[in-house]
């Protein structure tokens, strides 16, 4: 069998599994028993001493479940556990059930490094799904490179990185930014932009790309650019400046708790996002709206690759399975969906490689396609995902209406020329 055939077959098998959803699980489990008995010998699929036995394989989950980031990362943990559960019920990976070891990064970057080392050195996990902030990823990166592990990283981020040992499931900055700006210029006739951001690497780099795109490629104007410390809650002075300069678009990359204050103060200042003022954000997912309150952000546009309201059968099955497992009130944002892709992408790569060995899995990964809830994604040679970018408009109930999506998958370009 050529690898091409292999891939297509796996691809369609995954699509089927995702489509049938939880209802078909018993059948899948029955089928899988046959597959498990036929699983290849451990010595053949694991030549580097990973935690693989004849019927199990161990992976790691490394997120913050305590500390300030817990609120953001919990969704990712839940999505990864759901994916692992579904994979196990449909027969596991190479006939082996996935066991996971969960570690807490505690919103503390050195702790992430410590726990990553523990997972790779002590537990010998076959892969790790984890990290959320860029800082935590930067902290564990040398660990993964040194011990040759695999990390599946779910968050949209600033790009400027490409490691052999990391797969980036979120969009890098250009994917998220350029399509969004092009859309708002075309549809809303925007001419002037006011850039806002929390003061750390992701918003700064993203706004740098946005500014270059606005000024050099669209030949339009940036009328202001400002940054606020993480956790800042005082936005009235910048809101006054916005009122004075009247930009066509407020381009906001504010993160975490600051969002709550920002959108509330915006509304209190009488800025009407529904009828008068365009606001485009790349940092507010459904998770954040829970804290902000739908009534404060209704009318804002968001550019990302996934919204919970996406209307396709795979997403419907995913949302249902997620709510059945984690409660009906659960909300699924962009990163949560991306985290869900991790175990599936790994499974496909392992089965294509026919081995758990890190090098073989990494080599097998580029080109793999997955029919995820967001639609088809494909792993690029640079370890990022080809994915569509979508524009959502916030509703008062905390969900987004998807009003636009790119026709084609957008190529990931972590080192964009002309944008640095």
């Amino acid at each position: 069998m050529t690898s091409r055939d292999h891939r297509t077959q796996l691809h369609s098998a995954t699509r089927r599994k995702l489509l049938i959803g939880m209802a078909a699980v018993p059948t899948a489990a029955l089928l899988s028993r046959v597959a498990r008995a036929a699983g290849p010998a451990t010595a053949a699929v694991n030549t580097t001493g990973l935690a693989v036995t004849d019927d199990t394989v161990t992976v790691g989950i490394l997120h913050s479940v305590t500390g300030t980031m817990a609120i953001s990362e919990t969704g990712s943990v839940e999505a990864e556990k759901l994916a692992i559960d579904q994979i196990n019920k449909s027969g596991g990976v190479l006939g082996r059930q996935i066991k996971f070891i969960q570690e807490d990064g505690a919103s503390d970057w050195p702790t992430f490094a410590e726990k990553a080392r523990k997972l790779l050195v002590n537990d010998k996990v076959a892969s790790v799904f984890g990290c959320w902030t860029s800082a935590s990823r930067k902290a564990v990166l040398p660990v993964f490179e040194q011990y040759d592990g695999i990390l599946y990283y779910p968050t949209f981020y600033e790009g400027l990185e490409q490691s052999k040992n990391v797969f980036y499931e979120g969009q890098e900055a250009t994917q998220q930014i350029i399509a969004g700006l092009n859309w708002i210029v075309k549809e809303k006739g925007a001419k002037s932009f006011y850039l806002l951001g929390s003061d750390y690497i992701w918003p700064r780099t993203s706004n740098k790309i946005a500014r270059k795109h606005i000024e050099n490629f669209l030949k339009l104007q940036v009328v202001g650019e400002e940054y606020f410390p993480l956790g800042s809650t005082e936005f009235n002075s910048v809101i006054n400046k916005i009122k004075l300069k009247k930009p066509d678009v407020i381009y906001a990359i504010i993160v975490g708790g600051s969002n709550v204050a920002f959108y509330k103060q915006l509304r209190a200042a009488g800025i009407d996002l529904v009828n008068k003022q365009n606001l485009l954000t790349i940092s507010v997912t459904e998770d954040e709206i829970l804290g902000i309150g739908g009534e404060n952000i209704v009318g804002a546009y968001a550019a990302m690759k996934y919204f919970q309201s996406l209307d396709n059968p795979t997403n419907k099955a995913f949302v249902k399975a997620f709510k059945d497992m984690w409660g009906q009130k659960s909300v699924i944002g962009d990163v949560t969906q991306a985290a869900y892709e991790g175990p599936w992408l790994w499974k496909l790569a392992v089965e294509k490689a026919g081995s758990f060995d890190t090098d073989k899995v990494i080599a097998a990964s580029p080109g793999i396609e997955l029919n995820a809830p967001e639609g088809t994604v494909r792993i690029h040679e640079n370890h990022h995902l080809w994915s569509k970018t979508r524009i959502g408009r916030a509703r008062a109930d905390g969900q987004y209406d998807v009003i636009y999506e790119t026709a084609e998958l957008v190529e990931p370009n972590p080192f964009p020329k002309g944008y640095q």
């Binding site: 505690a106 970057w109 902290a139 040398p142 690497i201 410390p229 993480l230």
Partner: protein, 379 residues
């Protein structure tokens, strides 16, 4: 008596036992991954030692020791980062030869204050000198004006907050919230290998033991006794003709220097430095290590640091969701039941037996290292 007169027999035994534990027992009992973790904990012990002198003896509670730990660590990290950012290693950047985070922030030349950190000698001096200079200025401003007690503690917290905001805000120069990551070699010697980790662990352990001896020496001198006197009756010391402020500045600088050595060793062993060690929370945590161990005991502080961190790692590995509660219970339990920490437990329950055993041996036993103020001792 000889130069080690400040160490009586009981101190020596205590020190030997600790040395035996960290130099022989732990390396034999644990693999390199765990040993590296223990090495990391021991770097916090440097801070705890400083706090024993500063807070336990002199009564100056600093809630900003993370600042000095961080400054030492950052100095080391800057040197290592420059070495890791050779033009060959950073070819893909817009400006090769500068640290990667500077490149992301559109900085095109190495900032002036980074340049001296190309030199290892300068770096080693700076690790001590920078924090000491900072503490000296703070101390001069505070103690000469007789700011003390709670006010001093609050100001140290403010300094911790200021430095964090500065580091996070100036990310082009400092790496921001990500910190300085991906450190590789020290003068061409790969610090990430297992062998290097062993070597660094033993360097760290020896430095720590050396620091304990140094602290014990300081405590034993007249200076050490003035510190304790200052804690008990500052006015009397002042009226006796001593300039209290100078002694306070000294002990504050001394504690900062120790913390900085810990920070530098931390960077070497963990492979990066980030502002999460500089802020208020880690600074308070460092005080807790000292409190759990017993703020009047040098050895207690080291054991306390080891215990708290070992518990932290164990709880968080076994109960990823609940471990913080377990830690909270531990702190509350220790402080409620044993206000003098581990050293207090040792003094009330174990020491009497040890005394009896020692009495059976020839020679006299003097006051222990665990004692707050070494009493006068026949020479």
């Amino acid at each position: 008596m000889t130069g080690t007169a400040f160490l009586n027999r009981k101190d020596l035994i205590g020190l030997l036992l600790l040395g035996l534990l960290i130099v022989v027992v732990l390396p034999l009992a644990f693999d390199i991954f765990r040993l590296n973790l223990i090495g990391k904990y021991l770097t916090y012990a440097f801070v705890a030692l400083g706090l024993v002198l500063c807070w336990g003896d002199a009564g100056i509670l600093s809630l900003g020791q993370g600042v000095f730990f961080g400054l030492g660590g950052y100095c080391m990290a800057m040197f290592l980062k420059l070495e890791a950012s050779s033009p060959e290693a950073t070819k893909i950047q817009s400006t090769p030869g500068i640290p990667d985070f500077m490149d992301w922030n559109q900085i095109t030349a190495l900032p002036l204050f980074w340049r001296p950190f190309h030199s290892l000698t300068f770096t080693l001096v700076a690790i001590i000198a920078v924090p000491v200079l900072v503490t000296f200025i703070i101390g001069l401003a505070m103690f000469k004006r007789r700011v003390g007690g709670v006010y001093f503690a609050i100001i140290t917290q403010a300094i911790a907050a200021i430095l964090t905001i500065l580091i996070v805000g100036q990310q082009g120069f400092t790496g921001g919230i990500n910190g300085i990551t991906d450190l590789r070699t020290l003068k061409g010697w790969d610090i990430r290998t297992d062998h290097a980790k062993y070597v660094l662990y033993f360097i760290n352990a020896s430095l720590l033991l050396g620091s304990i001896v140094l602290c014990q020496y300081v405590r034993h001198t007249k200076l050490g006794r003035i510190l304790v006197a200052m804690r008990e009756r500052e006015d009397r010391v002042r009226f006796s003709g001593y300039d209290v402020a100078n002694f306070k500045i000294f002990v504050f600088c001394f504690a900062a220097a120790l913390a900085a050595v810990g920070g530098a060793m931390f960077t070497l062993q963990v492979g990066f430095m980030s502002p999460s060690f500089v802020g208020i929370v880690p600074s308070v945590e460092l005080v807790i290590y000292c409190a759990v161990g017993g703020r009047l005991s040098l050895l207690g502080a080291v054991y306390g640091t080891l215990l708290v961190n070992a518990a932290k790692t164990m709880f968080s590995e076994d109960f990823p969701q609940l471990w913080l509660f377990a830690m909270g219970a531990l702190f509350i339990g220790v402080v409620l039941a044993f206000p003098d920490g581990l050293a207090g437990i040792y003094q009330s329950y174990v020491e009497p037996h040890v005394e009896r055993l020692l009495a059976l041996l020839p020679g006299r036993s003097g006051p222990g290292m665990a004692a707050a103020a070494p009493a006068s001792r026949p020479e």
